[in-house]
């Protein structure tokens, strides 16, 4: 039974990668019969390599992905080192859900509006201090040729995700115990974090880092808003090639997608190597000396919170602004017509988005838990890298193959295919987010339950799932938010029958009308916000309801006896 369900899982989320990859591989070798290309050739690859600026584009991609990922990791670590479980920690957890809920596109738009040469920052400074900027000096954060703004914005946006991923890991690491040992050996708390917590935490953060670096290297919409365009990043270039009207050039786009795939794989390898070097090979830093630096984590967190939260009122003002010209600080004319004309079509779109996200989140969560349980019990299982593939390839490139496959099976089941594609793309994120918690889970609890006569299912539901509930809930919320963010799968596999908040938002943002974009970006943020808040509230409730379980208080001897019913 267990095995059969696992096979089903493979059919749903792993096998479909094949038609996707075969499709893009064949196209990259110029085999696309419907457009009259039916002999294999390397023309596509030649076109890619001969493209002027391809090396700059590739380097830009490597630079932004790597720098933003490690910048985010450093900031995340600084925040944890500074604030983990101290008196401010509650506040960090509280603002985490709105931070996570801000969709990437909305964050990019907000960032651009704040820091563009005509952005709010410039407006405020020039109005208050009368300083005049020339264009060149203020344009280093939006569309700058070195992608500095893109890198910075990506890093800031990913910090909340890394924080969220760290919570269950640190909970399992039992920092309190570590710090007791550490301080008894004379390490300052901040040094303890760097020398003791960091290596363990880093190893467990491998898959979240994979997700972040893969996202950074293949993101298109975010880069379109903030990145350079002459030359653009590789992902933007591939996207541009796929949108080329001349269908004879499809092999070039497909080859570009393969190049991007190779580049992303290389980045994953690099992440792995950096982790191995830091924790295994060059570990002198781990035991040399007791003094060290403490990073300003609190101020980092303050900046990120301020930035992300500022986006909400900004969007709200924009959605009512009829005329808001540079350098005005506030709009000169307001109007509610932008809301009014979108309102009637809203309700069906929102309910549809929520329904699809709920189904996706539940199914994906079940599948991911199943996959992890199976991994523990069986040597023969899917390697993590294979699970990650849907995250690594540009969506547009595998969708072509997927689409043909779905048309062969059943062409009219639009809802089925859209939900399936959401599950397919959400699965790696959910799976990877459960990876750390599942690995740091102490199997002895389950063993104890089994030895006390519980069935494996009982042991799972009564012990393991309860201990891991926070991470399970977060994974559920991540699944829902990934589903809510899907644009291309919804549009292409839905054949236009299914409209979600995201398909509307992306389509409208192509018109550069900030007001309409703001309305949909608000909704796009609101829905994941609901999911994340639900997850965080639920895990808090559970934490409170759990009357300090015995396993968390190992330091108190014989805790179990104190709750034993008294027998006279």
């Amino acid at each position: 039974m267990f095995r059969a369900t696992y096979l089903l899982l493979i059919c749903i989320v792993i096998i479909p990668t094949l038609p996707g990859i075969i499709g893009v591989m064949l196209s990259s070798f110029s085999y696309i019969p419907p457009v009259g290309l039916d002999s294999l050739s390397l023309q596509g690859y030649a076109d890619v390599l001969n493209w002027p600026g391809i090396s700059t584009s590739s380097l830009l991609t490597l630079f932004t992905a790597l720098t933003s990922t490690y910048l985010a990791l450093t900031i995340c670590f600084a925040i944890l080192q500074n604030l983990w479980r101290n008196k401010h920690w509650k506040r960090v957890e509280l603002v985490l859900s709105p931070l996570l809920a801000v969709p990437h596109v909305a964050f990019a738009i907000g960032f651009a509006f704040l820091f563009a040469p005509t952005g709010l920052t410039t407006r405020v400074i020039s109005t208050l201090f009368g300083v005049e900027f020339d264009d060149i000096s203020t344009s280093w954060l939006v569309h700058d040729p070195y992608a500095i703004g893109l890198t910075l914005a990506l890093a800031l946006k990913e910090v909340p995700f890394l924080l969220l991923m760290s919570i269950p890991i640190l909970q399992q690491l039992e920092i309190e115990k570590l710090s007791k040992v550490g301080s008894s050996l004379g390490y300052s708390p901040s040094q303890l974090w760097i020398k003791v917590v960091l290596p363990q935490w880093l190893a467990k953060m491998r898959f979240p880092l994979f997700a972040v670096v893969a996202y950074a290297s293949s993101v298109v919409d975010f880069a379109l808003i903030l990145g350079p365009n002459t030359p653009p990043t590789l992902a933007m270039l591939v996207w541009q090639w796929f949108n080329d009207p001349d269908l004879q050039l499809l092999p070039r786009a497909a080859s570009g997608a393969i190049l991007l795939f190779i580049l992303t794989s290389f980045l994953l390898l690099l992440v792995l190597l950096i982790e191995k070097f830091a924790t295994h090979y060059f570990k002198r830093w781990q035991y040399s000396g007791r003094a060290g630096i403490s990073l300003p984590g609190a101020s980092f967190f303050g900046i990120i919170t301020l930035l992300s939260i500022a986006i909400f009122p900004l969007m709200l003002i924009w959605s009512y602004a009829q005329r808001w010209r540079f350098p005005d600080i506030m709009p000169s004319r307001f109007s509610d017509r932008f809301w009014e004309s979108e309102w009637p079509s809203f309700l069906p779109i929102i309910s549809q988005s929520i329904a699809i996200a709920l189904i996706t989140a539940m199914v994906t969560l079940c599948l991911a838990v199943l996959a992890h349980e199976y991994r523990i019990k069986n040597k023969l299982h899917i390697p993590g890298y294979v699970v990650a593939i849907p995250m690594l390839i540009p969506q547009l490139s595998i969708l072509f193959g997927l689409q043909i496959a779905t048309l062969y099976v059943s062409s009219e089941s639009y809802y089925l295919w859209v939900i399936w594609s959401h599950i397919f793309f959400a699965f790696p994120f959910v799976y990877l987010s459960l990876d750390g918690p599942w690995k740091s889970y102490n199997q002895n609890y389950t063993r104890a339950a089994l030895s006390l006569g519980k069935s494996p299912l009982q042991a799972f539901f009564m012990v393991k799932s309860r201990l891991l509930l926070p991470s399970i809930l977060y994974a559920w919320a991540i699944g829902a938010s990934v589903s809510l963010a899907q644009y291309l799968p919804t549009l292409i596999l839905g054949g236009g029958r299914i409209a979600t908040v995201t398909t509307e938002a992306v389509a409208l943002s192509s018109g550069f009308d900030r007001r309409v974009t703001a309305i949909y970006a608000l909704w796009q943020a609101l829905l994941p916000f609901v999911f994340f808040t639900t997850a965080i509230l639920a895990s808090r409730l559970q934490h409170k309801a759990r009357v300090k379980p015995a396993i968390y208080q190992e330091s108190v001897p014989n805790d179990a006896t104190s709750r034993k019913p008294r027998h006279p």
Partner: protein, 380 residues
């Protein structure tokens, strides 16, 4: 025997033709159909206009028009190719598309279009035949797509800041030199960027007749040499020193309003009116064309070969070509897109729209050649 077969065949052809020809039959079949119309969804004005069209079509013909908003019609082309690869030659998911230029050429040459159907639309009689409605970027439409509106490449300036805008591209260069960092154009291969290059090339070569020939037949480097010389000079004084370019027309409008640029570029000569109405441009903005005229083209509506509701799509296209729908589309407060109908059938502000002197598009091969060369010189 042979005769019998011939007879049967000719009978079949006749009934087939008959089925195709009778508009009444088409409208009967269309009743109750849902037409999935894939069209760019980036403009609230256009989206609202299509909502109105849907309500009218439902009332008048029982046809539901669903606007599937896409950011680029290439997304739809990908879907159509997948359907073709899977051998799905009927019951397709796309019933109608909004295209022109390269996308049409590519869909036509890959046989992704239904038709010819245009001549039998009752509204065809109102269409202004003096417009180049039967060729799309010099590719014959062969009745596979129906004209919907006219585009003219024009510039927008703010009269309060720049009262006397450059009337030719050579004046534009002198202006840019006098006021550095104020002039730019969208980055090719964005539609408006390539169009800017084409218009510039046409002026610099005095509309050399070789431009209407395929690039393989002419000395491309020789003819385009003045263009690259011009751009080399322009880029040194252009916005952000020619190292970055706006992504498209909409961004140039935004930059004009932000006071970063002095000229924005658009294909809708009436764009200023709806933009002013909407609050995205100042009331003092005006559109104008260079003295040599405005690069002009037409955008079209077509039906994929495997559409499920091809009858409904024909009824919808026929409605969108009706005087009622075209007058509303041309209404400056609604959308302002210039009509393809003869002026006598139009009403309201659409009637007053004056088109600029038009310049025809060069042969489509120039588009790709210019984009490639531009990329080589400035794209990295």
């Amino acid at each position: 025997m042979t005769r019998l077969i011939t007879l049967i065949f000719s009978l079949l052809t006749v009934t087939h033709l008959h089925a195709n020809n009778s508009w009444e039959e088409i409208t009967n079949k269309a009743d109750g159909q849902t037409v999935y119309f894939h069209a760019w969804g980036g403009s609230q004005e256009i989206n609202n206009y299509l909502r109105w069209a849907n309500s009218q079509l439902q009332q008048q013909h029982g046809v539901t028009l669903k606007h599937v908003k896409v950011t680029d019609i290439a997304e739809t082309t990908a879907r159509l190719i997948a359907e073709k690869a899977a051998g799905k030659n009927s019951g397709g998911s796309v019933d109608m598309v909004w295209i022109n230029g390269e996308n049409f050429k590519s869909m036509k040459s890959n046989k992704l279009l239904f038709g010819p159907f245009v001549d039998q639309l009752p509204s065809w009689q109102y269409v202004d035949q003096s417009l180049p409605v039967d060729s799309d970027f010099s590719v014959p439409t062969d009745g596979l797509e129906a004209p919907w509106g006219v585009g003219q490449l024009v510039f927008i300036h703010d009269t309060q800041k720049l009262n006397n805008p450059p009337a030719s591209f050579s004046e534009l260069l002198s202006y840019a030199k006098a006021y550095p960092n104020r002039i730019t154009y969208p980055k090719p291969p964005a539609f408006h960027g390539t169009s800017f290059l084409k218009a510039l090339l046409i002026e610099l070569t005095n509309n050399d007749e070789t431009l209407s020939q395929p690039t393989e037949k002419v000395d491309f480097q020789l003819i385009t040499a003045p263009l690259w010389k011009y751009l080399d000079e322009l880029h040194t004084v252009a916005w952000r020193k020619g190292t970055q370019f706006p992504s498209g027309s909409a961004e140039t409008l935004q930059l004009l309003d932000d006071g970063q640029l002095d000229l924005a570029i658009t294909f809708n000569p009436n764009a200023v009116f709806s933009a002013q109405e909407n609050g995205t441009l100042a009331d003092s903005t005006v559109a104008y064309a260079m003295d040599t005229g405005a690069l002009s083209n037409i955008h079209f509506l077509a039906i994929p070969w495997n559409a499920s509701a091809s009858e409904g799509a024909q009824v919808a296209i026929n409605f969108l070509l009706s005087p009622e729908a075209q007058s509303r589309k041309g209404d400056l407060k609604i959308w302002g897109d210039p009509s393809v109908l003869q002026n006598q059938y139009l009403t309201g502000t659409a009637k007053n729209t004056q088109l600029f002197k038009s310049i025809a598009e060069p042969h489509p091969s120039w588009q790709v050649a210019l984009e490639t060369e531009w990329q080589k010189r400035y794209g990295n």
